[in-house]
């Protein structure tokens, strides 16, 4: 029994030691990364976000993360943190411009282009479907060719 108790204590100590050395990662990292994904890294020639920038010792990423950590600890939410970052570094720090003012055009333009494209396609379809003058009667030989053509077209791409 004594041996069992010693062994149990040993296991408990080992487990508690193990527990001390096991981490599920920097607790703040997930939120830090999520906010970082919305911020554009400004190190040259990086074109990634602060969250994605993996340049070793990136000065901008480290500086921004160092500022965000205390904000997260203080309980600021993502919107407030992004606003503070924008205030400090300007609009350029946001990975996507806010959908306001001229920048709204940035978001709308692709869909406007798609809408215009749809109108163009509609016009093309209408033009292609416009009835053409009825051709004069054709010979039975031509009819045979037409039947063959339709059969072959059905087999093709």
């Amino acid at each position: 029994m004594k041996r069992f108790g010693t062994a149990s204590a040993g296991v408990l100590v080992a487990l508690s030691l193990a527990a001390q050395t096991v981490s599920t990662g920097d607790k703040m990292h997930g939120r830090l990364r999520a906010i970082g994904e919305k911020l554009k890294c400004q190190c040259t020639p990086c074109s990634y976000t602060v969250g994605s920038c993996n340049m070793l010792n990136c000065h901008f990423r480290d500086e921004v993360n160092a500022q965000i950590r205390p904000m997260l600890t203080a309980g600021l939410d993502e919107t407030a943190i992004l606003a503070k970052m924008r205030e400090k570094y300007g609009l350029v720090v946001l990975a996507a411009p806010p959908a306001e003012g001229f920048n709204l055009l940035g978001y709308l333009m692709p869909f406007l282009a798609l809408a215009v494209g749809l109108l163009v396609v509609r016009q093309v379809i209408l033009r292609w479907r416009r009835p053409r003058p009825t051709p004069a009667p054709v010979s039975p030989a031509i009819d045979r060719f037409r039947d063959q053509m339709e059969k072959e077209l059905a087999d093709l791409e």
């Binding site: 997930g30 070793l56 300007g90 940035g106 978001y107 379809i125 063959q148």
Partner: protein, 671 residues
Amino acid sequence: MENLGALALLLAFCLSLYTILAALVGKWKNKPYLAATAERGVLAVWALVTAASGILIYLIYQNDFRLSFIAGHSNRDLPAAFKFTVWWGGQEGSLLFWLFILSTYSLVAVYAYRRRHRDMMGYVIAILMTIQMFFLVLVVFPASPFQVLASNGEITAVPDGRGLNPLLQHAMMRIHPPMLYLGYVGFSVPFAFAMASLITKQKGETWLATTRIWTMVTWLFQTCGVMLGGRWAYAVLGWGGYWGWDPVENASLLPWITATAYLHSVMMQEKKGMMKVWNITLVSATFFLCIFGTFLTRSGIVQSVHAFSEGPIGKYFATFLAIGIAGTVYMILDRLEYLKSESQLESVVSRESSFLFNNLVLLASCFAILWGTLFPVISELFTGQQISVGPPFFNKINIPIGLFLLFLTGVGPLFAWRRTSVESLKRNFLWPSVAALGLGVALAAFRIWNFYVLMSFMLCCFVALTILGEFYRGARAIQAKSGGSLAGCAVELTHRNTRRYGGYIVHMGMVLLFIGFTGQAFTLEAQDELSVGETLKLGHYSFRLADLQKSDNANYATGVAVVEVSRDGRPFDTMRAEQRFYHASQQPTTVVAIHPRIQEDVYVVYAGNSNDGQRPVIQVFINPLVTWVWVGTFVVILGTLVALMPSKVKLAYARTQIVGTAAQHETVRHS
């Protein structure tokens, strides 16, 4: 030696000018001997460019640091395998590499088609040589790879070079740029044929088959190039992803999209004589987007990890683009009469309409990417304020467009030419739709409620089943007629019409790619500073830093984090994530450790060191379904190769053609 190289390029420049004049005058004045010298001019230019390239490679291997290009991009201790990549590792060499590929393509195109396309070959040569001359101007004048270092009027050499960019010292970089360049440059040939057909006022049939095969081959190279770039980013950049919507990545995608649109719409012209203006426009747009991509990389107007340093050649590209686009637009407008559609649309629910929508959505996607890439410049121009446009913007715009495209991939090929009956729609789509809805319900039951994720998986299921259904129905028909196994009959079916079924395989590859893309939504990540013996947990995995090894060689010093990975308590793998510091360039880089699995990749990065420099920062990712992206790429490559193979059954087909204008007879002819 370097003088020989520079002389070869100068001679090639002069010869290219002669070749253009000989080709045009030979055509206009009907002088066949002069035209023949133009063909030989193409060969001579290729020989000179090849000689110059050979000399540059020789000098790179000789460590001739008198040359500015070699001193800037190589060093003595660079491994021999990477010395070859120095050729395209810097601006001057990469322009010569581009030129070498273009001159080789031109040579192949001219000598392969000079008899078949005799009437337009003079113009094809003139256009291809004009493009070559542009690149020759660059490598002879502002960006010569043979420029020597000089001090006080004396040629001098540095003791050692600055070395190749560490990011480029990766096996993938030996094949990614060549593949991308083979794709980019290859689009010059279809463009030259398209322009020559316009100049010679051809209706389009003669050049179409030639350009379609060229476009498919170059599209294949471009696909490989883009995906290898993604694979390289995944293995080297160490941020856990493979596509960051970087401006240069975007630039490589733009011509790929327009070429994809062309490969679809060209069928309309082949089968129905429709969309001729559109096809010429797409071929031209693809070519100019390739040049535009090169302009973006080298002009400094956008910031990118892939960009070459800002140089003086941006304005050369801008001028070439402006003149080229203006000339092309004029030529298309001038020849509209020759590009009239020959057929009518009988029903909106038809293959013809599906091609129109497919092209529209592809072009919308292309426009969205181009717009997003250039929007920071446009916005600054109008508002004076600098902005950034990154992944959140591109994802917001392109995910819905991409999903709609995926939907069209499923429905488009199953619409019949001319008109599609309700019965056929029911037969083809009922069960795939039911299965897709069933999958949607099942996923929702597993608490996957993200709209885009659900839509993507449902559409992948729908498209995969429609494609498999096509194979199944066709194989069953053959089996009923001639017996054999279903798999054998599917192979026979594919062999009978390689183009159609190769296309289906490509579509299946796209489905796999979309599955892989969707997996990104489930990525898990953790990061921590660890001492040896400490463990980091993520999902089912535990990562124990077992050892930290340091070593040094002539090229770089390295720190290796040896990480023992276990899954649910059972040993899984020992992974070695590296951090290197290259001596010559004085730049650090990471080498990621990846354990790929079909359901998820385990991805370990030695991301840096703690502030006191004592503990490594280990970043780990669980990236679900990434392997599907690479498998999908292989399937796309396979499908394209199948589509390039000749069909077993030679299908001669008829085509409707309106001859003349109103009230004239409609005639039918065989082609």
